[in-house]
């Protein structure tokens, strides 16, 4: 279970970066355990990419299988920390994702995905009630 660094609860550029890195660690923890409680606490339910991934992972675990790999790694984080009209802040992240294997209940490999590299995404976070909440994650709008 990843521990939230104290910095991740600071309303600053550095705090947002620490929160974003922590958020991707929660993603990795979810892949390995299908435990999304901590993730859900800091993520808005409307996050589209999150919902799609979580549904697929959850379905796979429910069928008795599990997942190996798929770890996300934040290679770079960039924000100018300027709030927009919704009060949230967009940042750019380069996130790699390791190859993942879906293992079925009987221990055989069901599927395999390739590693992801060289991809830039947007994360949108909101400072709310003294903490960060991730609103959305995905490729930039319009691309």
């Amino acid at each position: 279970m990843p521990t939230k660094p104290a910095l991740a609860d600071e309303n600053s550029k550095e705090g947002l970066e620490a929160f974003t890195r922590y958020w991707f660690e929660l993603f990795n923890y979810g892949y390995a355990t299908n435990d999304w409680k901590a993730f859900d606490q800091v993520t808005d339910p409307a996050c589209g990419t999150c919902r799609n991934v979580l549904t697929a992972v959850n379905d796979h675990y429910k069928s008795g299988g599990w997942i190996v790999g798929g770890e996300a790694e934040v290679r770079s984080f960039t924000t100018d920390f300027v709030p927009n009209i919704e009060g949230s802040i967009s940042s750019f992240v380069e996130v790699d994702q390791a190859a993942a294997m879906t293992i079925s209940q009987d221990g055989t490999m069901e599927g395999q995905t390739k590693a992801r590299q060289e991809s830039i995404d947007v994360v949108i976070a909101l400072w709310e009630d003294g903490r960060w909440v991730m609103l959305d994650f995905g490729p930039p709008e319009g691309t």
Binding site: Y31, S90, T113
Partner: protein, 318 residues
């Protein structure tokens, strides 16, 4: 401007590599990774505490703003090239190249952010919208309130339909699980129209499913497809022909397996219902049929005189 052109040019050199990216996502459709599931990040409002989803593209599109008449509301928009306006400060050129290269629908795409200008204050207040777009040479860009930029229609495919927890038909037979060799054994199904509501690609989808046909595998090597589920027949129904009844030519235990085909339609965010291409196949639990044979004898014996006579012992004693 020169700097921008250089960047766009470099961005294009990187394009080939990036284009290869979607293809590198797994083809097995397990759907567990980011690449397989990316939905464009949209600057949306925080969901309500009760868990309801914001409408898609709710940002800045209040009912008044999206009204048909072009009223000067004192709000204007202009766009800013994310790369040229923010390099040095926070975006390094390498990341700019990656960003502009993702505007790859046409050549020379540039990644921009819309800035809102509120002229009702003096001086006018400029605020970022958090809404991004790709602009291409020779095309007039649309500000974020002018309709729904890049809102792809939500299409529910057969795969999505099939993955819903559709309750299978329940198989019945008369009387109970028995039948007689060569007789018409009545087997029938009870199936229900069903409705599901789920979140899909930032939208709320209502899906309706209803049974349209039934494939019966009777367990004796024969099968039949009917458009009706059948129903219970009157009386003891040991030999009643119905649209779904079956004649077993031998005694034995048979597992009847039923597959019900459901047609469906769906509504996105309360919009009109549209049909789903294809039908979902939903298997029912196997239903056991025990087929017995009958023997008929005419007898005039007295069991006291002839205790081993026909009908004087049960089949179990033999």
């Amino acid at each position: 401007m020169t700097a921008f052109k250089v960047l766009a040019g470099v961005g294009f050199a990187a394009l080939g590599f990036l284009l290869a990216h979607p293809a590198s996502a797994s083809a097995d459709g397990s759907g567990v990774t980011f690449d397989e599931n990316e939905v464009g990040a949209r600057n949306i409002s925080r969901s309500e505490a009760d868990g309801t989803m914001p409408r898609r593209g709710s940002s800045g599109t209040s009912a008044e703003q999206s009204a048909a008449l072009p009223v000067d509301d004192g709000i204007d928009y202009y766009y800013e090239r994310v790369c040229t306006s923010r390099t040095g400060e926070s975006l390094d050129p390498a990341r700019c190249v990656l960003l502009n290269a993702q505007c790859d629908a046409k050549p020379d795409g540039v990644f921009v952010e819309w800035i809102q200008v509120d002229r009702r204050t003096d001086p006018p207040r400029e605020t970022r919208t958090g809404r991004n777009a790709c602009i291409y040479p020779g095309e007039a860009p649309e500000p974020p309130t002018a309709g729904e930029p890049a809102a792809e229609p939500v299409v529910i495919t057969i795969a999505e339909f099939q993955s819903q927890p559709i309750a299978p038909s329940v198989v019945f037979s008369q009387p109970r699980n028995f039948g007689l060799k060569n007789a018409h054994s009545n087997v029938y199904a009870e199936a229900q129209e069903q409705e599901f509501t789920f979140a899909f690609r930032n939208a709320e989808v209502r899906l309706r499913a209803w049974p349209v046909s039934y494939r019966w595998d009777y367990g004796d090597g024969t099968s039949a497809t009917t458009t009706v589920p059948g129903s219970s027949a009157e009386g003891d129904a040991f030999n009643t022909e119905t649209p779904t009844s079956h004649q077993y030519l031998d005694t034995g235990d048979y597992n009847v397996t039923l597959t019900t085909f459901f047609a469906g339609d769906y509504s996105v965010d309360g919009g009109p219902f549209q049909p789903i291409a294809g039908q979902a196949e939903v298997p029912s639990a196997p239903h056991l049929m025990s087929i017995w044979r009958t023997e008929a004898h005419s007898v005039a014996d007295d069991c006291l005189e002839n205790p081993s006579g026909i009908g004087c012992t049960t089949p179990l004693d033999r």
